[in-house]
Symmetry: C2
Subunit: 460 residues, 2 copies
């Protein structure tokens, strides 16, 4: 337990927005993933940047860990209070502060969720592109450098954040960038804090970049005999510069689960789900080019639509995918893996993973953002069954090692947290030490989400 007097000072300041109730702290120590509960000592709900500055100053003085919290959709234990401390729940900082259509940006508080933002943008002709599936908060998405289905065209959070307001470990508040579209004025601090998982400071404001809503959206689905055929089609499609906005892969097992869940009759073969963002005029040739790239590699049962209702139905497949897969094994929970490999290694990586899963006796459908080389196996386990848990963790570890050996990364989009720490040295070598140096420089007392992403090492 940390310094009692500091806790009293904070309780006085935050009043009803300070909680040490057992249910509250337990809930904030839980996550969607398989990690045990690591409850914080208290939960605080700031409503202003000044609140966060006050909090940081007290906690810096008393060396109390601070763990930022959005909506709890992290999959790698980012919000686990492994050393106790205070969970900073940003759910009350949830205002869209400004929509600036002419500069194509919006400024918002970190507790705003992705769906909330797009709802508030609905009359602007613009949208926010990053879609990790879950209705995460923008603060959480920034902190994990989230990406998802639209990354192939619009990029990850790295490409879609203009600027961040950060409260640093020393209580100073900075803006990482101006509102100009580009800048060559010094180190790229915006990029540094995106994906830093709250280890360098707390995000209190975000300016995101927006995109014009495309004139015509076409969604579709196409089957292939093998994953390698699908991957080769993807390479050809990418090479043509086609306006592909989403390009998702489903393996046979995923299709089986989807068929059962959504009462469909798709062939039990690898599939691509796609979305093209075109203009009315270019759409027919875009679809034609896409279709012929698929046909070259045996693409079959090509279905598509530009009508909103039908499009939504097709994509519901993917959006409900996680639940369809969970429903395929009642009573089980999911361990979701997340690797990303160079495009050319994707077929190999998926096939090896399928073999490992098949040998393990665990069910593990695979789906992913094939245009980025990023895929997930949804390993279905009984968390109470140590044998299944061990087998699933072995598969997850093997996937991470496989990705690294193929020139890829142990995390495509879910981040490191505590779940992937063991792969950082293997993947990054000395570069991981550099991250440690930076952490040490900006947070020498290690109060900002300690134990995540970097390890306390002997830097010098």
């Amino acid at each position: 337990m940390y310094n009692k007097k500091s806790f009293e000072t904070l309780q006085n300041h935050f009043g009803e927005r300070w909680s040490v109730s057992p249910s509250d702290i337990k809930n904030h120590g839980r996550s969607e993933s398989y990690f045990p509960i690591y409850a914080p000592d208290a939960v605080v709900y700031p409503i202003t940047t000044e609140d966060v500055v006050f909090l940081v100053n007290i906690c810096q003085e008393a060396k109390i860990p601070l763990i930022g919290y959005g909506i709890g959709t992290s999959l790698e234990g980012h919000t686990a209070a492994i050393n106790g401390g205070i969970c900073v729940d940003f759910s009350k900082m949830c205002k869209v502060l400004e929509i600036d259509p002419y500069n194509m940006s919006a400024t918002l508080e970190p507790g705003v969720t992705r769906e909330q933002l797009n709802t508030e943008l609905r009359h602007s002709g613009l949208f926010f592109s990053v879609d990790p599936g879950a209705n995460a908060t923008l603060g959480g998405m920034a902190s994990t450098r989230a990406s998802g289905t639209t990354t192939i065209r619009y990029g990850t959070m790295r490409e879609n954040i203009q600027s961040l307001e950060i409260v640093l470990a020393n209580g100073e508040c900075i803006s990482t960038n101006t509102k100009a579209k580009k800048s060559a004025a010094g180190y790229d601090l915006t990029s540094l804090f995106i994906g830093a998982e709250g280890t360098l400071g707390l995000i209190t404001k975000i300016t995101v970049k927006l995109h014009p809503i495309p004139e015509l959206v076409t969604s579709g689905v196409v089957a292939f005999d093998t994953i390698n055929d699908a991957v080769k089609a993807v390479q050809d499609i990418t090479f043509t510069g086609a306006p592909v906005a989403r390009l998702e892969f489903l393996d046979e097992k995923s299709v089986e689960a989807f068929n059962a869940y959504s009462k469909l009759n798709l062939p039990l073969k690898p599939h691509l789900l796609f979305e093209l963002h075109s203009s009315e005029k270019s759409s027919p040739s875009d679809i034609g080019n896409f279709k012929s790239a698929c046909s070259e590699h045996g693409g079959m049962q090509f279905q598509w639509s530009s009508k909103e209702e039908e499009r939504k139905e097709l994509w519901a497949l993917r959006h409900k995918g996680y639940y369809a897969i969970l429903a395929s094994a009642p009573g089980k929970r999911a361990i979701v893996t997340d690797i990303c490999v160079p495009q050319t290694e994707l077929g190999k990586a998926v096939l090896e993973t399928q073999k490992d899963i098949s040998r393990s006796g665990i069910s593990g459908p695979i789906l992913g953002h094939v245009g980025d080389g990023n895929f997930h196996a949804i390993l279905l386990v009984d968390p109470e069954d140590p044998k299944e848990m061990k087998a699933a963790k072995a598969i997850a570890n093997k996937m991470a090692n496989l990705a690294i050996s193929l020139g890829g990364t142990c995390s495509g989009e879910h981040g490191i947290g505590i779940g992937k720490l063991d792969f950082m040295h293997e993947q990054l070598g000395h570069a991981w030490n550099v991250m440690g140096h930076i952490k040490e420089a900006l947070d020498p007392s290690n109060i900002m989400n300690p134990g995540k992403l970097v390890k306390k090492i002997n830097y010098f």
Copy 2:
């Protein structure tokens, strides 16, 4: 003068690739800009990463400054040896090591120039998009986070580098990233070293991202009555999501210089020069949409072509722009300013700058990357005339302050070097201190391009 023994060790190691000849060191202390000559004590020409590691280890031991050097096109004194030391000329590390079409990337040594790279790519169907005008080296472009005419569509160096190999101040060599298209594994070191101006380490290898050559390129030119009309047209064009790959602004004075230099007869009005990257099928509607967005704001004398010869002729206008402007004032040299403001402030910023220039009595045509909000005044001065130099510097300073006051940046693409140091605190506040902390952490002896981008301050 630094430690003699270290210099002897280096001379023995590098042999003919070590130079202390007065002409060599003087040439490497010069730049394209108005700064005095700051000559290094020696110039070294590494040919391998191991050479650079050897060099850094010796210089770390003896605390000798190391200044990376590409081809000398810096405009802000980045390569000035203000504390002496060794200039690391990368011109002999100029091989394209690998072109990987399926992963759409190329790996190269830092001395490769932009034009050389695109020449080597000519049979691949791919191209490297960043075009700052000068035929700079990729190492220099990475170090200054260069951008240019195509940034509106393809991004700056930040969006076009996959990974960097860096030799750090402690002699360790790291790769900042894998070959996977995205990664959520730790801090974004790639972005940190892009634009670090050699102050955190020396770049010894670069993996860049490539793009498919577009099916059809259309170039054109259109005149407007006022800069504000042109800016409004640009906003409308951007909002439509049109496939604009270049969008350049020329003011009346620039047009006058271009007319004289290229024997043209363009109306003496603000102009936009543009390039669209389309497919054959979508091109007519893309051009139609572009033209009507311009017409809405009084765009006139619209000319365009998709024929290579005619396109090149139109763009020669822009590419020869700098020389045309220099030729308009024989005997003068140029001080090139570089500010970037939010799109909505662009008209105001250009008009205020034109007024200031006009009051000064100096000639200063304005051109810029209007789609990014970035523009340059080419201030024509006699470097021997202290009054003109003073007036030009006053204009440049006023522009930087104006950009900051409008929510923009004192450097859009040229970087900080020694030329823009005085604006960093005003623009960035505490964020500049954060940069200082990072510099201190990664280069505690301050041997990596000392005196540039950050100032030695009392960090704690």
